[in-house]
């Protein structure tokens, strides 16, 4: 694991910062009232997105949850168009129709985030089924939270994916909470990976805050899936350093717990690893600075982007007009 090429590690470091800083702007502008809706930040969980997406080709499919920004950026979507979508602009990925919870960048394999917990799982299975049927060599990855495992469709999809041996990677980001309620209050089953065994679906629980661990586990899982060995599940133990949504007062977590989580920061951990390998602090700071100004530029450009024309509000409902009268 430690013999990973340096340029890879630097690449991870850069991507982790890109997501962290990007979401910092979401938080800042949300507080100023510039972000409609209620965006969910992945702050603290970035290593999962980065470590998994490192193994995906542009045309592999990614389905994401309500906490999607990290997955979308890690998959390689343009920060400008992504941010423009999050603030509802015409230049946004979805022309302002989707927003934070419905980011889609189809050309880049981002097939959609979802605002319905667990609603993405079966869609990802469908994408994997299409890839299998067409024999195009793609795989599908679905990111979901620990809370999604309470939904029936989670179990239905595990069963189906295993039964049909779909090229699908389930990635659970287990951050210990679903909104304001801890995992212990949701299920007797502590480990999400335990749900996979009865369906004969290989699964493992890993440290999701160590990008090197995620990278290695995802590499093995993706290799296996591409070889035709069927679906896999990775449970990535992580921690959301921010609230459930921007503005969450977080009364359900103690000060001690919040302080302890700082120790788990995936960026700090990769920095420590790089420093330990003798990489100069100045170099690492330079990366952070460069990414910061790049993200800042994308955000500022997005803030200047045109708002959607209200006259286009009925566009995209159907692929073609079918009605003889204008729809009400």
């Amino acid at each position: 694991m430690t013999d990973l090429a340096l340029d890879k590690l630097y690449g991870f470091y850069e991507q982790l910062w890109r997501i962290r800083l990007f979401e910092g702007h979401v938080q800042r502008l949300a507080a100023k009232g510039e972000v409609p809706g209620f965006p969910h930040l992945s702050t603290g969980q970035e290593a999962v997105a980065v470590g998994v997406c490192a193994h995906l080709a542009a045309n592999d499919y990614v389905f994401s949850s309500h906490r999607a920004h990290g997955h979308v950026l890690a998959k390689g979507s343009d920060p400008y168009a992504t941010f423009a979508e999050i603030i509802g602009r015409q230049d946004g990925l979805c022309r302002g129709r989707g927003g934070s919870m419905h980011l889609v960048d189809a050309a880049n394999g981002v097939m959609g985030a979802t605002g319905v917990v667990a609603g993405n799982l079966s869609l990802a299975a469908g994408a994997a089924w299409a890839a299998q049927a067409l024999g195009d060599g793609r795989i599908a990855v679905v990111f979901f939270g620990d809370g999604a495992t309470g939904a029936g469709v989670f179990h239905e999809t595990l069963n189906l994916a295993s039964l049909w041996q779909l090229p699908l990677l389930f990635v659970c980001e287990n951050n210990g909470y679903a909104e304001f309620t801890s995992r212990e209050e949701h299920s007797k089953v502590a480990k999400v990976s335990a749900f996979a065994a009865p369906y004969h679906l290989p699964a493992e629980t890993i440290d999701g805050n160590d990008v090197l661990v995620v990278n290695a586990a995802a590499a093995a899982a993706v290799r296996s899936i591409r070889s035709g060995a069927g679906p896999r599940l990775l449970e990535c133990m992580t921690y959301r350093m921010a609230g459930h949504y921007v503005g969450d007062a977080q009364r359900y977590r103690s000060k001690e717990e919040l302080a302890a989580m700082k120790e788990k920061d995936p960026i700090d951990r990769l920095r420590a690893h790089l420093t330990q390998r003798g990489e100069p602090a100045a170099e690492l700071e330079a990366i952070e600075k460069r990414v910061a100004s790049e993200v800042q530029a994308a955000v500022e450009r997005a803030r200047q982007a045109a708002r959607p024309d209200p006259a286009t509000v009925l566009d995209y409902v159907y692929s073609q007009p079918l009605s003889t009268t204008a729809e009400a």
Binding site: D105, S122, L123, A130, A133, T157
Partner: protein, 322 residues
């Protein structure tokens, strides 16, 4: 030669699967022919990968079809009874219907959900419903309800070729109905209603199995000297208001008939739209014929007592013409 609704649907499926390699048929028991035998034998011709049984997981298989439709397939999903579409509601309403819109036109969901509805033969409260009005309320869905085997053939072909999600509702009472499928039968455009019988005194608007019932009522009323025009909506969403207005302009009186519960049904929407679009053309209030506000009962006497039929339509027309 006359063939049944089931056989004609099977032929339509077979032809479309032969024409387009991206068409896949999935659902509970479909490889075994499905609960009503519509897909019988298709697995032998098109193989077990293209005609595939699924577990009894309506939520997951609807997502499966939707996800596949996003990624290059054109799936036909069979939901055995529309009553079980309740288990697929999240996907249909929150995902399938909205994908095109939410993605700003990047993606679409070319999928047909074939399902079977309506009351017959003591299927009782959980296998007999007509739930179509729930779906016409959802922007992004197309809802089609054919009234005969030949209609089903043409409407299914258009449904399958459309790039939007279609709920294709087959009435179980039509399954045994026989018709001759003309050699030149072709795809029937969606979003266009059909004048099933011309008349001049009253317009009866119906769809699905109720079109046949309306035609029988029209026949009976003709003997009493009342000329009834029967319109088959074909597509419930979007609605073809133009054709309805044209008819109403001629007859000035309207009855809307469906088997679904009258309250909040398709008829309510049609009435409201006609009221707005053709108020000045109407000489009388719009009448509705639908199921009373009760679940479908089991015992044959009760089932028959509840279901609206020819008698109810005749009565409504008489009321408008007396």
């Amino acid at each position: 030669m006359e063939t049944t609704f089931i056989e004609i649907m099977r032929q339509a499926l077979d032809e479309e699967m032969t024409r387009d390699a991206s068409v896949y048929l999935i659902g509970e028991d479909v490889a075994a022919g499905g609960a009503f035998g519509v897909s019988r034998g298709l697995v032998d011709k098109h193989g077990p990968l293209r005609v595939r049984n699924t577990p009894i997981s309506e939520a997951a298989i609807t997502g499966l079809a939707t996800g596949a439709a996003l990624c290059g397939l054109r799936p036909v999903l069979e939901i055995m009874f529309i009553d079980f579409a309740t288990l697929a509601m999240d996907c249909l309403v929150n995902q399938s219907a909205k994908y095109r819109y939410m993605s700003g036109g990047q993606l679409s969901v070319p999928m047909v959900v074939r399902t079977q509805a309506g009351a017959a033969g003591g299927a009782a409260a959980q296998h007999s419903q007509s739930l179509e009005s729930w779906f016409i309320h959802v922007p992004g869905l197309v809802v089609v309800a054919p009234s005969s085997p030949v209609e089903a053939y043409g409407l299914f072909k258009s449904s399958l070729r459309l790039d939007d999600p279609v709920l294709f509702i087959e009435h179980k009472r039509l399954y045994a109905m026989k018709e001759h499928l003309p050699a030149d039968a072709a795809a029937i455009p969606l979003g266009r209603a059909r004048v099933a019988r011309e008349g001049s005194d009253v317009t009866v608007i119906a769809y699905s199995a109720m079109v046949r019932t309306a035609l029988e009522a029209a026949q009976q009323l003709a003997q009493e000297g009342v000329s009834v025009e029967v319109i088959d909506l074909r597509t419930l969403a979007p609605l073809d208001i133009e054709t309805l207005v044209r008819s109403v302009t001629k007859t000035r009186r309207v009855v809307i008939a469906h088997e679904a519960v009258e309250c909040g049904g398709v008829g309510a929407e049609v009435a409201a739209r006609l009221g707005a679009a053709a108020f000045d053309e109407l000489d009388a209030p719009i009448m509705r014929v639908g199921c009373p506000f009760a679940p479908i009962p089991f015992a044959p006497e009760l089932e028959q007592a509840l279901l609206p039929g020819r008698e109810q339509i005749v009565r409504a027309v008489r009321e408008l013409t007396s």
